[in-house]
Amino acid sequence: MQKNTPSYFSNLKCRECGRLYPKQAIHVCDFDFGPLEAAYDYDAIKAALSREVIESRPKSMWRYRELLPIDGEPTVGTQVGFTPLVKADRLAAKLGIKALYIKNDTVNYPTLSFKDRVVSVALSRAKELGFKTVACASTGNLANSVAANAASAGLKSYVLIPADLEQGKVLGSLVYGTNVIGIHGAYDQVNRLCSEIAGKYGWGFVNVNLRPYYAEGSKSMGFEIMEQLGWRIPRHTVAPMASGSLLTKIHKAYGEFTKIGLVEDAKFSIYGAQATGCAPISHAMKKGTDIVKPVPKPDTIAKSLAIGTPADGYYAIHVMRQTGGTAEDVSDDEVIEGIKLLAEYAGIFAETAGGVTVACAKKLIEAGKIPRDEEAVLCITGHGLKTQEAIQGKCGTPRLIKPSLREFEEQIYLPDQAATAAKS
């Protein structure tokens, strides 16, 4: 990448009223409390950025640096992103669709989830803004990513977790030497405490006061999908929804590439996937309203998607409606089936959120909402090793034999099977 790339990131802008704000650690409009998001000088980017320029750069999410909200060069997570876009022909045949692609963030660097994208941007910006301490509240992937990326960048980090979180999930943060703080209390109380801490101390809370920067990192998934497809927008995209942010940022990414002429303007539809045990956005979408009714007690194995009061639910609904997409939700049994389908037909082991996405795509295809003679991209956001307990006992057990050929032939690979295999 060229040194001293100029910044095209101009302001923060209220998503509700459009008021402009300086590029500081703020996240809410003073007038209507609408969320702030990054705004750019697209004319200047159009003049500076081309497919050739991007292709000449290292294969990371930072090859789209002009469209990410930092002033200088990235300093944290410079190797994050550019994960494979896998053409999954066997899974396509199984689900009965012409073409299927898996955007495989299960192998994102360094912590095997798409959160490395958002954290990379949030912490690069945190350093530019002079923060020495960064923090987040998380039940898994985000905590791991903040801990790892802060460690490599030399930033002090705090990870806040609910006090009753399973120890196994805590280990993936503790190992990086972060400060893990367990908080007793209900979800709402923990939320308010985090917000108060972020307001009172000079910490960069990645998804509170650094939220406008953090959220923009998700766009890189959309940018990569278009480049890897040969510089075009896929007809159908299915993304998991927790807060709904990823879905809205993929939409923003498709729009930005179109605006600056890197891809042709084309019709596309975006679909959101949730688990039925916590599906506030999907339920609102299906009811035809944009008022998202909170889910007080989420109950699903897809814990990384279990956000009962999704901050971007309203905006996600508008994106789905505007693009002709829709939302779907699936039971925990279907989530497990989705994990197994992806593993058995595409060789990719995803966490429960991946199972949600695959299972919802299957339902959407079966219902004809995604036409069988078209193509779809599924966004798979985290590795299955992170949620192994969800499928424990659901994949069978190994068959045990003594170390004898006779026993092998009697119990495992019968001689007549061998003969059939030899003929074929």
Binding site: F31, A137, Y187, R192, V208, S243, L305
Partner: protein
């Protein structure tokens, strides 16, 4: 006593949609309420509210809201992610 400002989303369940909760809040507690956004339908009410007052009074007001069944979140809504 230190004065404080809290920016909150209140979410009313169906049974509370028709109750004048903000009026009751002003009567019961020494806080200034400033309504900034609201969406209400027959099933759910979402109200974005700024509360000004002594810190302890704001805490008491929030505790009362929760006691009657209103969900109270910071304006960020979810600060805990997966």
């Amino acid at each position: 006593m230190a004065n404080d400002t809290s920016r909150l989303w209140l979410m009313y369940p169906t049974r509370l949609v028709t109750r004048p909760i903000i009026w009751e809040l002003c009567k019961k507690f020494e806080v200034t309420t400033n309504l900034r956004q609201a969406s209400v339908n027959e099933e759910v009410g979402l109200v974005c509210l700024e509360l000004d007052g002594e810190r302890t009074e704001i805490k008491r007001a929030i505790a009362w809201l929760e006691e009657i069944g209103v969900k109270v979140e910071p304006v960020e809504i979810n600060t805990i992610e997966g």
